[in-house]
Structures are given as C-alpha cells and as structure tokens.
C-alpha cells in the first residue's frame, strides 16, 4: 500500500499535457476495472493516477458523414455500447459482446478504450473491433495519429502506446452484415476472463456464396489475430459442414503455430474448433436461406 497523487483533468488538452510531462510515472484511470486489480497486487507502482473519466469529449459516439466510419470515444462504457442504436446497427458483433462482458457492475465502469489500451490478450471487445478493421486514434502533445488495432499490441499486456499517449477513440469501418456473431468460453457464466473468444461477420451473394467475411480470434494468442486463412477458405464458397470442419482444423493449426504447445493446448486445440463450429454452423443455414 503506497500513496498516489490523483489528477482529474476536465479537458483532453489538460490530460495530454500532463502525460507529456509525467507519462512514464502515470497510470491512466478510465473505468479502473483492470487497473484497480493491478494496483492491489502492488506491482508496477507509479506516483500519479490520471483519472480521465471526466473528459466529456472521450464519451462521444458518431458516424462519419458518408456513414463509412464509426468513431467510438475511448471513454464509452460497455453499458453504453450495449444500449446505443448506432453501435447495434453498424458494429453488431461488438454490440453482442457487450451482453456477456464481465458483469453489469463492471460494464457500467469499463471503457472500450481501457479494454484496448490494457493490451490484455483476453479483452472481449478486441475480436469484434478487429473484424471492423478498427484503428485507435491516439493523442499526445504532438497531435493525433492512428494505429491499426492489430498493431496496438506488442505482446500480452504490452501495448504499443508510448507513455505520453492517450487513446481518444476507436475508428471502425462500419458494416451491416447479413451474418455476425461473437462467442466466448469462460470458466463461469459471468465475471470470468475469457479463455477464448471469436467474432465473425459475413455477407453472401444471391447464390448463397460467401461474398464477404471477417473473422478474428481472441484470448488464445498473445496478440489479437485476424485469421485471413480462415476467411479466404470461405470466400466465394457455399459453406458446408465439411468446409466448416476444414476451417476449424485450419484455425486450430494456426493457433498452435502461434502459441506453441503449452499445457493448456490440450484443451484449447479442440475447444477452438468446437467454438468455431458452434459459431459458424448457423452461418451454413443462413447461406442456404
């Protein structure tokens, strides 16, 4: 137990200025749902706590004029993601993940920016964001820049952000897909870190062939993954049980290739296939409708 100085800026400029001066000595507090646990364990102590929860500009959600992009402020809570029609319409898998994210109390506090910046391999919002090819809009005193989500994470809990950086928004390519899903496995039905998660969205042509597909795997690998090989397997084809099984095998292969054979693989290898099938089977039916 040690003392910290808490700073609570009202504006983004104030926050960015503070980070410019004290970045390496500062923990950024958004919803605190991960940070409080880390602080309690006593590791990685820093003298300053920058509470960004009062910065209103971080809480906006808006659609670009051409409706091609959706901006979600980093301070938007999971509860708002769950309730905003804009998100349900333009990023439905992200909306779905907000139903099972941790617990209601945590959803009320946790922010999407925090979920991304924490660089946890298990963040539930990551696979849904990856399938929308999301980018993080990052601010520091030198201005704004964007980082593709897949490049945000250098490894488990190692973010590509600099100490003076603040994530201000997530920028998603909008889509209203004909088929979408988010699925995960936890050790219990609420309040459990996901052992595995995945998101998909797809469209079909008039022959029932997959004309568009994005698929992402979460929690199984140290960094977020968009599984291009799985996507290309389905692209242009009429999905069948056989194709689904093939995709499941490919996915497991790819996962093992990334993680190597740790003890947990004896569960993850079949489970990743099982979860994939559970998610994709309804897509077969949908394509045949």
């Amino acid at each position: 137990m040690t003392t910290m100085t808490c700073i609570r800026p009202e504006s983004l400029d104030e926050a960015v200025d503070f980070l410019h001066d004290h970045g390496p000595d500062t923990h950024i507090l958004a919803g605190g749902t991960d940070l409080m646990v880390d602080l309690r364990s006593g590791e990685n102590h820093r003298p300053f706590l920058l509470d960004i929860s009062r910065i209103e500009t971080l809480k906006t959600v808006e659609l670009s004029d051409d409706q091609a992009r959706l901006y979600i402020g980093s301070g938007v809570t999971l509860t708002r993601i769950n309730t905003l029609p804009l998100i349900k319409e333009h990023a439905p898998a992200l909306h779905k993940c907000s139903f099972t994210f941790a617990s209601r109390q945590i959803r009320n506090m946790a922010t999407i920016g925090g979920n991304v910046a924490h660089a946890s391999p298990c963040g539930d919002t990551i696979p849904p964001l990856v399938i929308h090819e999301a980018e993080a809009v990052v601010a520091n005193r030198d201005g704004n820049r964007t980082i593709p989500l897949l490049e945000m994470t250098k490894g488990a809990y190692r973010s590509a952000l600099h100490p003076e950086d603040l994530v201000v928004a997530l920028k998603l390519k909008t889509r209203q897909p004909g088929f979408f899903d988010f699925q995960k496995i936890g050790r219990r039905k609420a309040l459990a870190t996901s052992r595995m998660s995945m998101a998909v969205m797809a469209d079909k042509d008039d022959q029932g062939r997959i004309s568009f597909i994005r698929f992402s795997l979460g929690a199984c690998t140290p960094t977020p993954q968009r599984m291009h090989t799985v996507e290309s397997l389905f692209a242009g084809k009429n999905p069948t049980v056989e194709l689904m099984n093939q995709g499941a095998g490919l996915l497991a292969e790819k996962m093992v290739e990334i993680t190597g054979r740790r003890p947990s693989i004896s569960y993850k290898e079949p489970a990743v296939q099982g979860l994939f099938k559970r998610m994709i089977y309804p897509m077969i039916t949908w394509c045949r409708q």
Binding site: M1, T2, V37, S103, I185, R187, R188, K189, A190, L191, A192, R195, T240, V241, E242, M244, S266, Y267, P270, A271, Q273, G274, L275, K277, R278, Y281
Partner: protein, 762 residues
C-alpha cells in the same frame, strides 16, 4: 405435522440481526470504532518447508509507527494450537511447514507501517525438501513434516466378510475418485479486534464459529487465568468451517497481552486465501459389489486425504469420511479406511460436510455405475438399497427413528421423472446435450462418536423479562433466531420478545462449535431444557395462585392460563415476583449431549451419532459438447430435517448449499502457490445458479427439539454427485475427478464421440 400446533416453531419469523446488517451498523470487526488502535499483520513463510535459523526484526522496528514485532519467544504460554490434536504453533519456532506459516507478528500505528515492517523482517531460512502429494508423503524416505511422522490418523470401519461377499457378487465396480482443495470464500474475511477492559481483562471480539474454544486456546497461549480473557463473537459473515480454527484470535491476544492497547487484525482476501483452512482434497479408491437384483452387498474403500501442514479438523474429517463412506445405503460387508496425511500444502480443516461431500462423489457415482450395469433406473437402485427402519449401519448401529431417506427419494421422484421424460425430450441445438442425475446423502448430526454437549441458560427477571444466554455462534445461518423460537415456544412467548445474550464467554456457557450441523439439535435441546425448567417453575407457582391443576395450565402470551377457563390467568410479572420473594429460582441451566458410543479403533463399531439427516438431489444439466461448458438448469433438493423450526432458514441453507455444490462440482480448485485471490479462484455467480426447488421433509426426531435435526452441511452434499451423474447421463461418459471443469468435460465429450459427431451434413 401441522405448524398450528406451535405458535412460533415452524414459522419463518423476522430474522434476528437482519436489521443491523441491512442498516449497516458497525457490528463487524472491520467496522468497530476504536481509538488509538494498532494494526496487526503477520510475517508469513517464504518456503513450504524450511528450518528457521534466525529472525532479525531490527530493520522493521526502526520504521516509523511500528510499535512492536513479536516472535515465538514472546508467547508467554504454550505456543501450540488445535482443537483435536495440538500441532500448530501460533508463530513458528524452529521451522515452517507451509507457505502460510506465520513467523512473526507486527503491530503498528498505521496499516502502511505494518506492511512495510512485514517486508522488513528478515528471516534466515534453511530450506528443506518439501512434499505436497499425500501418497508421496507416505512413501519411505519422504520429508518428515512433524516429528511423529506424516500420518495424522487412520480411521477404519469393518464389518462382515468383504472377501466372501465380493466372491459371490454378480457385478463389481472398482474406481478411483479425486476431489480438489476448496477455499470457503466466506463473504467476510477473518477479522478481530481487542482492547483491555477497565479491570484489565483482555477483551477480544472475533469473527468466529466457536468463541469458547477460542477462549481456551488464547488462555493457553498466554498462560493466564480463565477470567483474564473474554471472547465475544462479533457479527460473522460466514464461516463454513474455516472460522473454527484460530485465525486472528491468537495474534490479537498476544499483542493485547504485551501492548495493553486496542488492536485490530483484518485479513485481506489474499491472506484469508493463503492462511486459513481448505477443504481436504481426497483420493478415494472404492470397490463395490452387487447381487443380480442390484442390492449392494460389499464395499471396500481406501481414501487418502491431504491435511496439509497441520491437523486442524483432519481427524474429524477422516473419521466422518470412513463412517459415511457407504452413503445412506444398507451394506452388510464393509472394509473402509481413511488416512489423513501431513504434507507441505497449506493446512486443510473443516469445511461444510467434513469429508462427506468427497465420499458422496464416490458412493453416488458407484450407485449409478451399478444401476447402468444392471440396466436399472438410478432412482430404483437407491430405493432398493436406501436405509430404512431397522437398517444396521457400517458401525453396527441400528437405525430406529427419523429415517427420512426413502421419503426424500419419494419427494424428488415426480420432478425427477418429469425431467427424465419431458425435459430430456425437448429439442435442443445439436451442440447441447441434456442429462438428469440423482444423488443421495446421509449426515450424522454432531461430532463423531465423542461427547459434544451444549449448554444454555434461560432466566426471567422480576419484570417477567426473559433472557436467553447461549454460547452458540450465529455465523449467518440463523441459530440465534431458531434458539429464540425454541425458548419462545417452551415459554409461550413471542420469540422476538426474548432478550438474547450470545457467544460472550463472560456471560454465556459453552455451546460447542457451530459445526457438524449440530446447533439446532444440540444447543436447541439445551435451550429447550432450560426453558422447560423455567416454565415448570412458573406453572408450579401458577397452580398455587390459580388453584388449577398443572395439566390444565398453558403458557401463553406472557401469562399462565387455565386451558378450560381462559379468563383464569396470571401474568409472568406477578409469578416472577412471587417466586423471587420466596427465594425461588428463575434462572435455569440446560444441558444436552447426544448419546454416542466411541468407535472401536479397529472395527469402527459404536454409535457415532444419535441421529442423521438425509437428502436427495436431482440435477438437470446442459452440456455443450463442443466446448465442455456445463450449465446446471435445475436442482430439486429434498431434505429430511426432522422439523423445520424456521422454514425460510432451511430453504436458505438448501439454496446456499446448492450454490456451493455447483462450485465444488464444476469450477472450484485451490492450487497452493498459484491461487491468490478471487481473481483466479472461481465460485459460482448468480448467473451460474440453477433454479432450485427445495423440498422440506420432516421425519421427526424424537430426541430433537420439537423433532428438529439439522441441515447446514447436508444442503451441499448431494449437489456435486447429482451434477456429475447428470453430466455422465448427458454424455454417456463419466468424470471421476472434481471439478468437472471445461477441460474434463470436453475430454469426456471427445471420448464419447459427441464432439466429433455433433454436426452432420443434412
């Protein structure tokens, strides 16, 4: 039995203590207001097994606001604790036996200073080889944890001729079962405060299940007279067995003895996880034989349980496990043996059921396997073998009354049958398989084959006010309400009109531990006896006053009246004055000790308990064959409690027991050195809870207060085996080790073929 016979027994009256809790009164040790309080914190071992060469406290003492650092040499009395066998020092002397072992105790003016001092105490360790597996600890040449060796105890129960019975058996089932260590995870981490009284008495408030034991132990640690220490049970936010041990009480006593100023010790969740008892993990080898009709004729059981570094309640766990191994079934030939073994695992002790939940996994799995082998219905094989009047148990005890097992089986039958037909035949997505399972249990009320009395006092003052004095710790299960109802019933008073003085060693006498599901039955009887004695004195005086014979008099609403002429009555106030004026006695002591006969060390022959509780649970589960996720949808739980004094409390116990059973069945496993806190130890959330249908069965116990037995532990016992049997029913593949985790269920699904055959091309 109709509840109308009684005016308060059988009614779910407002719970004593509920108002204080709901309005946030500072009744818990962490909240009590004290001035100039010092904060205590223990320095714990860094090694699972090591000699202590020296302890240097100089650096710690130089930290500002650090008041004192105590080591074993500061303990004035006997540095040894344990309720059954004494093997656990308050502070380690020559060696540490687990990562939880305390080696020094810091007292400081701020929590921060206490924490810094803990880190600054330097201990010179000489690491020793450690052993964590009990079977390895039994091998020759294994590291010796205690001077007397690594076997804490071996308990045996033998009867009939097992070899001959197996010889004749039609089917034999032989399997090995494993259970994990479990952390109780009560809501309130262990806590206590202490301060010296005006007369110098060391007053200790503690979150505890057994204040009178705490008193004895603190007195012994400090080497002082009995009256020098007073223990008062503070509001206790759950215990489930773990608060039967001395968790903070000894530390508070030691600091108070030396510093004579207020002290407080509240465990963090991490410390509560590290330093308090766990449920014993078991390895159970069980072999049972059945004849062609499905009657179980023989059982051989060998179990090893890991008691960790210290005995705690290990002897009771081993003994109860051996006695309960048969489950609620009549088996004529048995050879049962349970060995509790020391290892360098953090110590294991009491947890809801004392080895019985572990045994139930084994005997209830065996029952299902036998049923399957004989193509019998799981319910039928239990009805066939279930104990009934006249059954002679493995310890040679003839069961004569209050045997509600068959009633419990009958009570779940309609729902169980309906689930087996209607629910199982509802369409589900291809990856979901449904299963229904059933499990029974029995549980002896009170301690096993030893005296375990309770006492109580019921007193009336000149104003007719009745006060109940009981040493029984209410840890959230509601005993204070129930004991008030029992006294109220005997005296014709509203339970809430009785004042209560509870669990304070200055004013109450020993009621024994709040454990073994014993307080309603044993303390209830002690209270009833005291209240009956007072009632009799009042009646006698009323005979004199009303000139009506005793048989016609009733105690009702604070007066004694003639049952035939209700207008003829006299109030308690008048009676109390008359009795006291004559020098009569209005304060009466009650005493009750269930009749037991100690068990023979070789055969286990004897009477372990006067009475048993029985139960049967049926569980409906859904298994995701692709991921191993298991959802418990519904649990039908029938419990024979003798008589439900407070039905809502009984239902609360049943639902809580089911919740704990779901955790034991599906997700809980404490791994020493890895499990730190609730972040990595999963107990069920509300979302994991099934719909629970509690059914109260009342097979009255003639020796119980108003027929009551107990329900606290029974509530948990059948849940896990019912779930495991349901999972096995869903997959056609059995799981032999708890928890039935994602990994184990998925393995079973793969082995059964369901994983691969889930989706077929249509």
């Amino acid at each position: 039995m109709s509840n109308d016979r009684y005016h308060t027994v059988g009614k779910s009256i407002f719970r004593r203590g509920a108002k204080e809790r709901l309005t946030g009164k500072p009744i818990f040790c962490a909240d009590m207001e004290l001035e100039n309080v010092l904060y205590l914190k223990a320095v714990r071992s860094r090694h699972p097994h090591a000699g202590i060469l020296g302890i240097d406290t100089t650096a710690a003492l130089s930290i500002p606001d650090v008041v004192q650092v105590f080591t074993a040499k500061d303990i004035p009395g006997k540095n040894l604790m344990g309720i059954i066998n004494k093997d656990q020092p308050l502070l380690a002397e020559d060696k540490v036996r687990s990562l939880a072992d305390p080696v020094a105790l810091v007292a400081a003016r701020t929590p921060q200073a206490a924490e810094l001092a803990v880190a600054a105490v330097s201990v010179d360790y000489d690491p020793l080889p450690a052993v964590f597996d009990p079977e390895e600890a039994l091998a020759p040449g294994a590291p010796k944890i205690h001077a007397k060796g690594n076997v804490l105890v071996q308990k045996k129960v033998r009867r009939g001729d097992v070899a001959a019975a197996f010889e004749k058996a039609h089917t034999i089932v032989e399997k090995t079962y494993r259970t994990s260590a479990i952390e109780h995870t009560y809501l309130e981490p262990d806590a206590g405060v202490g301060f010296p009284d005006e007369d110098g008495t060391l007053v200790i408030y503690a979150s505890t299940q057994n204040p009178h034991y705490d008193h004895k132990e603190v007195v012994s640690l400090l080497g002082v007279e009995d009256h020098a220490v007073r223990i008062i049970q503070a509001a206790t936010g759950g215990g489930f067995g773990s608060k039967l041990d001395m968790n903070v009480q000894g530390f508070i006593g030691l600091a108070l003895y030396h510093l004579k100023q207020p002290v407080r010790y509240v465990y963090t969740r991490e410390e509560a996880y590290l330093a308090t008892a766990k449920r014993h993990p078991f390895v159970i080898h069980m072999k049972t034989g059945a004849d062609e009709t499905g009657r179980i004729t023989a059982m051989q059981m060998k179990a090893v349980c890991n008691t960790g570094a210290y005995g705690s309640y290990g002897i009771a766990v081993a003994s109860r496990a051996a006695v309960h191994a048969t489950g609620p079934y009549a088996i004529d030939n048995v050879d049962l043996e349970c060995t509790a073994v020391y290892t360098n695992h953090p110590f294991c002790g009491a947890m809801r059921g004392f080895g019985t939940p572990q045994m139930a996994l084994a005997h209830e799995s065996q029952m299902d396997i036998h049923a399957r082998a004989l193509d019998m219905d799981p319910l039928e094989i239990r009805v066939l073998n279930g104990v009934k009047k006249g059954t002679v148990t493995a310890t040679g005890q003839e069961l004569v009354h209050s045997i509600g097992f068959q009633d419990c089986l009958a009570a779940v039958t309609p729902e169980y049958r309906k689930a087996g037909t209607d629910w199982l035949s509802e369409p589900t997505p291809p990856h979901i398989r449904r299963g229904v399972g059933i499990a029974g249990m029995w549980y002896g009320i009170g301690n096993t084959g030893v005296q375990n009395p309770s006492t109580a006092r019921v007193a009336m003052d000149r104003n007719g006010q009745v006060t109940l004095f009981t040493g029984c710790a209410d840890i959230g299960q509601g005993s204070t309400t129930i004991l008030s109802q029992i006294a109220g019933e005997a005296l014709g008073l509203d339970a809430m009109d009785i004042h209560v003085v509870v669990a304070d060693t200055k004013y109450t006498t020993n009621a024994g531990a709040t454990s073994a599901s014993r307080q309603t039955y044993i303390s209830g009887n002690a209270v009833k006896q005291a209240a009956d004695k007072l009632a009799d004195v009042l009646l006698t005086e009323a005979v004199n006053y009303l000139k009506v014979k005793k048989a016609d008099l009733r105690l009702e609403n604070g007066s004694v009246r003639d049952a035939r002429h209700p207008e003829k009555q006299v109030g308690f106030v008048r009676l109390a004055s008359r009795i006291l004026d004559k020098g009569g006695e209005l304060s009466w002591q009650g005493y009750f000790d269930p009749e037991t006969v100690p068990l023979d060390p070789e055969t286990g022959d004897g009477i372990p308990y006067t009475t048993y509780a029985f139960a049967c649970h049926a569980a409906c589960v859904e298994v995701d064959v692709l991921t191993g996720e298991t959802s418990v949808r519904r649990v039908i739980a029938a419990h024979d409690v003798g008589k439900a004094i407070h039905p809502e409390n009984v239902i609360g116990q049943i639902c809580g027991g089911v919740a704990m059973g779901v955790g034991f069945a599906l997700m809980e496993a404490f791994v020493p050195g890895e499990t730190i806190s609730m972040n990595d130890y999963h107990i069920p959330t509300a979302a994991d809870m099934p719909c629970v249908i509690p059914i109260i069965v009342e097979a009255a116990e003639p020796s119980g207060p108003f027929g009551a037995k107990g329900v606290g532990e029974p509530a948990l016992i059948p849940t896990a085996p019912a779930i495991v049997n349901a999972v096995s029913n869903a997959l056609g593949k059995r799981i032999y080790a708890l928890p039935a985790s994602l990994e184990r269920v998925l393995d079973a699904s793969i082995a059964s073929g369901h994983f691969n055959n889930c989706y077929q091309e249509s």
